[in-house]
Symmetry: C4
Subunit: 337 residues, 4 copies
């Protein structure tokens, strides 16, 4: 090595000397205490069905060629790997069959996997006001879905150009719906999560599950919707960093269970900012309610092309999740943030 190159090398070492090293402190690696996973059966009951791996996949609302392709890929993967599937907003098929094929996935996912329809809270409020709640029962029935996901998104409705306003607190609308129809319900937010008081109300309702859809993924997609209205963007942008993370929500639900002792809602779908199987493994392990994890954007990205791409992605996520189960312990001294 000549003098100049040595000099460069030392300078580089000097520069990097001070850089902080990122460690994933959520986990303690224990390599001495287990052998490798060997394909044993790890299936479990969830949402009244049997799942083979603790993953939930949210698909897209219909209306485009792409959505049809993506939803079919997802349904197929859920069947192959024993996962659960939630549809995007089904508003388009509530009173019309035009896009029915984009949502009609029961034959593809098969009878054994969880498969759920989806409507927004503003739509539910309107249907109740119109005493038209049977439209929901009918739609869920025709889809042969296991129940209905209600997405509660007051911020989106307030700031988006075409948003609809709601009159009543969502929790009251949900209570009213529960009193009128006999369809199993999941309640979710859409990217901001929710705080202690909202969760406290929900866990005492007769829900099949709460899906977090927590803060932590990118919110830029919402800004995109306002690209042509810079004034609306400016109004909205301070909210870009508002919300509760999946980790905060798991901690909150755990604390509520310790305080109240019981929950009529017995399951969680932990989603929102889950980037990979390690995030999922961490939060599912910490949750005191039975839980699975959902990855929306990561899965959608792999579902746009050949089924083989999606298949490999999900297979790899599960393979890695199995390794984590055998060799990673949750560090109880680390709070996850």
């Amino acid at each position: 090595m000549n003098r100049d190159r040595k000099h460069d090398h030392i300078q580089l070492a000097f520069d990097s000397q001070t850089s902080k090293f990122e460690q994933d402190r959520r986990f303690i690696y224990e390599p001495m205490l287990a052998g490798h996973p060997n394909g044993e059966d790890r299936s479990f009951a969830f949402l009244g069905k049997t799942m083979k791996a603790p993953m939930w996949v949210s698909s897209m609302t219909g209306g485009t060629e792409k959505a049809n392709h993506i939803n079919k890929n997802i349904a197929r993967a859920c069947r192959e790997f024993g996962l659960g599937m939630g549809l995007g907003s089904c508003r388009k098929i509530l009173f019309s069959k035009t896009y029915w094929d984009d949502f009609n996935m029961r034959d593809i996912i098969g009878p054994d996997q969880p498969f759920w329809a989806n409507l927004g809270i503003a739509q539910i409020e309107q249907l109740l006001k119109d005493k038209n709640e049977n439209a929901i029962t009918n739609m869920v029935g025709e889809l042969r879905a296991d129940g209905l996901i209600i997405h509660v998104n007051p911020m989106q409705e307030w700031f988006q150009p075409e948003g609809e306003h709601i009159e009543n607190p969502p929790v009251e609308t949900i209570e009213e719906l529960l009193s009128r129809i006999n369809v199993p319900l999941i309640v979710k937010e859409v990217g901001l999560g929710m705080g202690r008081e909202s969760l406290n109300r929900l866990i005492h309702l007769n829900l099949e599950a709460i899906e977090f859809a927590a803060y932590g993924g990118t919110n830029f997609s919402k800004l995109e919707l306002m690209r042509d209205e810079p004034e609306k963007m400016e109004m909205y942008q301070p909210f870009t960093f508002v919300g509760q993370t999946a980790n905060q929500m798991v901690n909150t639900v755990n604390q509520l269970l310790q305080t109240t002792g019981t929950s009529t809602c017995k399951q969680l779908i932990i989603s929102g900012g889950i980037k990979n199987y390690l995030d999922g493994y961490y939060l599912v392990s910490k949750s005191e309610l039975p839980a699975i994890f959902g990855m929306a954007s990561q899965v959608l990205k792999h579902a746009t092309g050949d089924y083989q791409d999606l298949k490999t992605f999900i297979e790899n996520q599960i393979t890695a999740y199995r390794f984590a189960q055998n060799f990673l312990k949750i560090d109880p001294e680390y709070d996850g943030e």
Copy 2:
């Protein structure tokens, strides 16, 4: 997807894996417990008038074409949206009518909104020394202003080339003025805020309000003033990071109220580093004294052009503020820094 693009994608995910995610921990989002705002009347008494929204706008000192245009836009918006307005330094019209039109906004803002004149502490000290305090009473009267804002800026006066020195502690000058004239007073700093002892003295004076003008906005404007004197800039620059933030000042005033029990100053205008309605909502919610928030530079930026631009900006700020009132709770475990 081909191999290279996949590779790039994975590398990108890998790189961003470690980036910290910024969350606005001041708030807890509670989407389940309220409906959308529906236009109900939320007006309240402040500074002896009735305001429709908790925003205060500081305008510019006169003397330029631009200032006249800006001040008129601001006065018009205050009238339309029910806000309060503070003038910039009125020194130029104390003994001359040359720039009178730049400050004479009562007819535009109308009789129902707070509208306040403004002088610096060095000027007040001089007027008292000259036993010429009637000049103040006359100016406020002719402007049909609701009272006088005194800006206290010893640092500015010390470091600026043309600055004037003060002989006495500002709080004593203010006490002296209170004993001599019968004009309602607001006291403010000009970009650095103030500490516990200063606030403790002020809240026990007979003031209508304290305006914070806290540290947290950019101080570069002050450096600009010294652009031609680099030695002065070098002398001044370590002070660039000195001051008390609006959040610190709210905490301090709250603590002083808990300690002393009373305050003869009964209102706060929280300003300085308030970038948007969320900053304002947070601090107004935390303050134990009745408070509104002020945004200087943000509003000025929108007031330089058509009135429509300013109108849209303020309308949007209020619309978003209303949403925050219904759906965001202050996190009591977070201290706001």
Copy 3:
């Protein structure tokens, strides 16, 4: 100085004003209490031999021209400076003499320095299953090595394309080996370290030493191995930040000793993320078990060329280590992270 240059200078000072200054808080510098090191003998017993400086060097597995050259340089330096040497994986010479010369370093390192062979846990498990443990005894004997290092690497084996799976917990495999052969053993990880439970099991085995091979060096080399399989890379990458650092492991072993009182494993080789003599000095000083430190990549880098380069590097590391011993105290109030 002209105005513009002054201006630039001040701006620069202004910009750097806010930059954080990195201080190495592990140490307290005490310049008043000692003279300079004067070449006194500081040799000590370790692994049954006598070492002159507390450095351990890990060499490369054989099979290339380069490895042969590097290993010879390392063995020569260990002899000259009184250090200890661990071979890379000896799997290639377990049943074949093809690459024997790349590992056969006893004549170069000489009889007085620690010199250890090395095999992976998957290989050990297989040999035990085949009742072929004598192959180990024979290999160690022929190498005239002081014993065997077992590297335990379930993560590497799981994610690498050509990885082998293990059936049993490594600690049980090691116990079994200890019961069958009479070869001194060192156990190490390979870049992720290990947690409390793994360490607790190991310190109660009859081991000569545990080598940390902790988390903290770069893991990119592992990603390199998967460069042709982007899907595997994507699967693996969240694990890139998982592991226990050398500092965490020293703290854990110290705590275990305080709790359990004894350790049948009486020595530590602290390695993994040790960038220089200061890292080594800090951790060796903190360890309650007798310890030395290992630097793998730093030494390898200097061992690829002339022996003189390696000699200078090691001589300098030891010279600086001696200075640290006289003038740096460990700050007990700082935890080392």
Copy 4:
């Protein structure tokens, strides 16, 4: 404003939203309680002389045209503003008059200001060994200096190519010197400061002052010295971040005084990493021993040209320091780091 520019503006606001704002939390600004400084006499006794402002200036060792010019500028400024001056290493004039003029500043600084000679600990050790301590007394006497600064720099001597080694602990060498000659002494480090045990020994010696020369300025200058020896640079660089800051040292001395009750060393010169008058004001205010502050590199930079440049710089520093005295309080809840 057109749509695109608006869009850019909003994006910018969005990007900067998350940037942290740096606040100087050492101080609380109290604008209401004092008038401006008015030129009152603030002189005080220090090192047996009377100083008009609490600034200490370290000058350069002689031997170059530049040093002569710089030292004369500094001596002149110390006289004009009532400051104290420490010479650079006087080794060159211990046994030779070649560079005498570069150090002979008493006539310029005048009889009323502190003016001190300077030698390194290695030199002192050698002189004591040679029983030649009278050379020190003679040199100090001929310079008409008020005493001798001993700089203790074992790290510099160890790592620099031409460094000299010391045999005895510096504190013992200093004790020996105190017992042999009757010259007032100041002891300082040279850029790394020192820890509790060193300070504890020094404050119980019969010293006029300790000068910190703490860690916190740039150490790159030392690396420069080794530019032609990259191997030495690599050896040295981990020490680049080692040392004790001026703030840590003030806290340590305060704690030692509280523990031991007394100090035979009664004064401090706080230097090392003092970038401006605010750093100086903070640390001088916190010190329980009478203290002044030293700024080496900042002053040297202004002393290379016309005297007017240096004069303006120092005048401005003192002007700003006076403002700080009237309007800034030290925040007792902030520890200064």
